[in-house]
Symmetry: none
């Protein structure tokens, strides 16, 4: 049996301190429910005294039946010179109706004197009183020793004394925090080893990523004896973020032989990562380890042929273990084996001559500035068109855009499209925030009636890259568009010296692909019945 490591998620509290992150009560309830299904042990929901929204979260969370996770309310030790039973912040935790209280207190002498402006003795009393008060109320109490590692370096005896005070007062866990995020793994390991000699209570680790070492520090602490890991989904958090649970958990389970989540649950990690990004409205980092969109994407031709021969030659784990998937990218560095893979994915068969023709076509497009690695859908349309496997769902006669700007007034943008769907001529116009948006609106308006699938898709990302900036306003631009419907997303590309033309190309591809995708799904359904 692998040894259990307890997982403490603080996405909703420490994670929500990240710049640009703002979660509503509704958002928090959704994320908490998803984390519970994933199988984490503790969910820190917020600081009920400091934030009225957090108190509302706890009150509404009471009505939910939690499968596995225990909700924890956060707070600090009582004020210097005050009484625990009169401390509004501690009373709020009791009112929150949770089973677990997580209390942070100072472990660094400098902070006690410089930030709290009290005596070292009073700080020990604050820790002891606050924990005892919550334990008496029947709560499981976790003590977060803020700045423990910096404090241990400055004054080890005092730092250890704060932990002993917490343990003696009845804390169930003592958590060692690298609050400033600047520790090195060797220092963390040495400090944890020393603490284990002094304290019987089980230990946790809480790190920040200011030195780019939050994950390494967490793993070092576990090796040295910590049995609880604190962190956030996607490493959200103030400054450079907290330890990223999406990296900590697979390392612990797949590489170090511990058990963190219930068996099989790790394979939902990618889904949870993307869900949290979606709710928090953060663009997911494509290169995020384990769960990122690019984490198992192969570009170089050599890599691709080797991966196809034996997957572990270029993959450190099987992507399925964390719910991610392998992707083969097309690019000017890619060889024929990437193309073959793509062609197979599409269910096409190519003769060697056709394959060569297609390869040359792709290389020529790339020379012109196209980039297919970020534009799967345009690549598929290009392949189907060059191999004659494609029937155009509609024909464009023209598109025109018009922008008018007068000083002091907002610019007016409109687009006119004329197309043929079968025998029917559609001629329509629309306004927009700008000419590209106007074309999007006009094209959508023209197609929606005949093709309801267009109504279900929406554009979710628009990128512009000027390719040869030195040519200034006559430079080529590449436009990348991401589109999405209920079930999936796809990417298209357009290139031109005219940004309107490049955008139009990418827009057209995006809608044509939506229709291709729909007809494929209908065919699948028909085949199944």
């Amino acid at each position: 049996m692998p040894e259990k490591i307890y997982v403490y998620d603080t996405t909703l509290r420490d994670g929500s301190q990240g710049e640009g992150i703002s979660l509503s009560v509704e958002d928090k309830l959704k994320i908490a429910a998803r984390l519970d299904r994933l199988g984490v042990d503790y969910i820190e929901g917020g600081w009920p005294w400091a934030n009225p929204k957090d108190m509302e979260f706890f009150l509404r969370a009471r009505e939910i039946i939690w499968r596995q996770a225990k909700l924890a309310a956060f707070g600090r030790t009582r004020k210097p010179g005050g009484k625990a039973e009169e401390d509004a912040n501690l009373l709020a935790i009791r009112r929150a109706g949770v089973k677990v209280a997580t209390i942070f207190g100072k472990a660094w002498d400098l902070h006690v004197t410089a930030a709290l402006e009290t005596t070292l003795e009073e700080n020990l009393a604050m820790i002891a009183d606050s924990i005892a008060f919550l334990v008496e109320a029947g709560l499981e109490v976790i003590f977060d020793a803020e700045h423990f590692f910096d404090g241990f370096k400055a004054n080890p005896d005092y730092a250890l004394a704060t932990l002993k005070a917490a343990a003696a007062a009845g804390a169930s866990w003592v958590v060692l925090c690298d609050t400033n995020g600047g520790c090195l793994p060797g220092d963390v390991a040495a400090a944890v080893a020393r603490v284990r000699q002094e304290i019987q209570v089980p230990l946790g680790i809480h790190t920040h990523n200011d030195g780019d070492l939050a994950v390494a520090n967490t793993l070092a602490a576990v090796t040295a004896g910590c049995r609880q890991v604190q962190g956030t989904i996607n490493g959200l958090g103030e400054r450079c973020g907290n330890a990223n649970l999406c990296s900590v958990l697979p390392n612990l389970e797949l590489k170090m032989g511990y058990q963190c989540l219930p068996a099989g649950q790790l394979s939902f990690l990618t889904e949870v990562s993307r869900y949290v990004s979606e709710i928090a409205n953060v663009v997911p980092a494509g290169n995020q380890p384990f769960v990122g969109y690019s984490a198992f994407a192969h570009k170089g031709g050599i890599h691709v042929s080797a991966v196809l021969k034996a997957s572990h030659t270029y993959e450190h784990i099987r992507p399925q273990l964390v719910g991610n998937e392998r992707r083969i990218l097309m690019s000017d560095q890619a060889g024929a084996s990437n193309l073959r893979c793509k062609v197979e994915e599409m269910g096409l068969e190519l003769s060697p001559e056709k394959e060569r023709a297609v390869m040359n076509g792709i290389k020529e497009m790339e020379r012109q500035g196209y980039q297919f690695e970020g534009a799967d859908a345009s690549l598929e349309l290009f392949l189907r068109k060059t191999t004659g496997e494609y029937r155009q769902p509609f024909e464009v006669e023209y598109v025109k855009t018009l922008v008018e700007k007068r000083p002091g007034q907002e610019a007016i943008a409109e687009a006119i499209v004329k197309l043929k769907v079968g025998d029917q001529v559609v001629h329509t116009a629309a306004e927009g925030n700008g000419p590209v948006n106007a074309m999007d609106n006009a094209l959508r308006k023209a197609l929606e009636e005949v093709f309801p699938a267009i109504g279900r898709m929406r554009l979710t990302d628009y990128k512009v890259r000027v390719l040869d900036e030195k040519d200034a306003t006559s430079a080529k631009v590449r436009v990348l568009i991401e589109s999405r419907d209920g079930s999936s997303s796809w990417n298209t590309v357009g290139v031109s010296t005219n940004i309107i033309e490049a955008s139009w190309e990418a827009l057209l591809d995006s809608m044509e692909y939506a229709l291709l995708k729909q007809s494929r799904e209908l065919n699948k359904k028909a085949a199944a019945t």
Copy 2:
């Protein structure tokens, strides 16, 4: 004297394998020059055989005088059964005209048999022959032992034999690679220690971030004896990226007491990080350790008051050491001193009230997405306009653009402008490569007759950044334009959801600034005579 660690940058080669990264030869030359000024020891420029663009880079790079860095050309060992002196890939390295060759070869027996499909003995001969061939040509040869750590785990004797073959053939460095990026720091440290017992040649480390441990693995390898670190700026690279030099270097210098860059150069790290993001057109990660925009950002409350009392209470290093800065969120402090500098430069004097009004105006513009850091000319125009120090040289009545696209034909773009210069009404039109180029041409045509200065300036750079990509085609865009005349260059900015409007704003500013500049020069001349 701190011990020297050699810095090997592979942003231009391994970094450019990252998904969505595509660097032109021009881009590569710019980045290489900036890395050289930073003071890295080696710059890996590309693989001249596999990529014609890379060969062009090396040929053009010959004309540059490098301060500190040695350029390295990349390649693989000769083909199984072939001869080094006939190997196109090795010959290309010699043709590239560099002083350093970096050759990768297989160190994992599985790769030799499964991917290369040759014998273990032949692989050793391939390593030895290839290195000897390049050494004979007078090159410093670096051997990248691909998959060394996985190979060492699977078959330590064979993995070591590949290193010994490289050393015996004359390699100056042997670099241990965690190609799949899945190693743990403890394993890396143990393997490096073993290698040091067997090999006399100095060792390097090359890691990837698939386990979120690339930085930690690099630091562990240095502690165990490696004296060269390979990595990329911002951790660019395939899948989850390479070891991030922007994290590796400050950890080594500021926390571990090594010397990597020439004294004082670390303070340019943030600038270099942002420069590379800009050139590669990647949105910088705000939470990036050390150099990110949020890395030293403190939210209101406890942290802020503590940071102001004693900065190391909540900062692991002083941000200035890496050229970054502290940001107190929701505060007016930042910027006031910058503004004062600018105002002095322009020879303006502002009363405290006017200064506050201008500051608020700038903050509001920045909130809307303007960025004046890269747009001095627009800032000066804005300041002169808000302080009443500006006389408009012409008045715009309107600008209109029209784009028409029919399938199979090139898009037609034209612009119409109507303006008043004094009492004279100018109404004209022009075509262009795209709508922005058409506006540029029309505006130039309208102004040139009255203002000959417009004929002497030209636009030299045009950049577009989508500000909130999730809003897709209705997102805001920021346009930056660089202009130049015989004597100097200046930058202007425009922001709108309508790319035509944003471009128009930046264009107008650019031409107005040219006229302002000219009248200033005329005044100077008049004062001098």
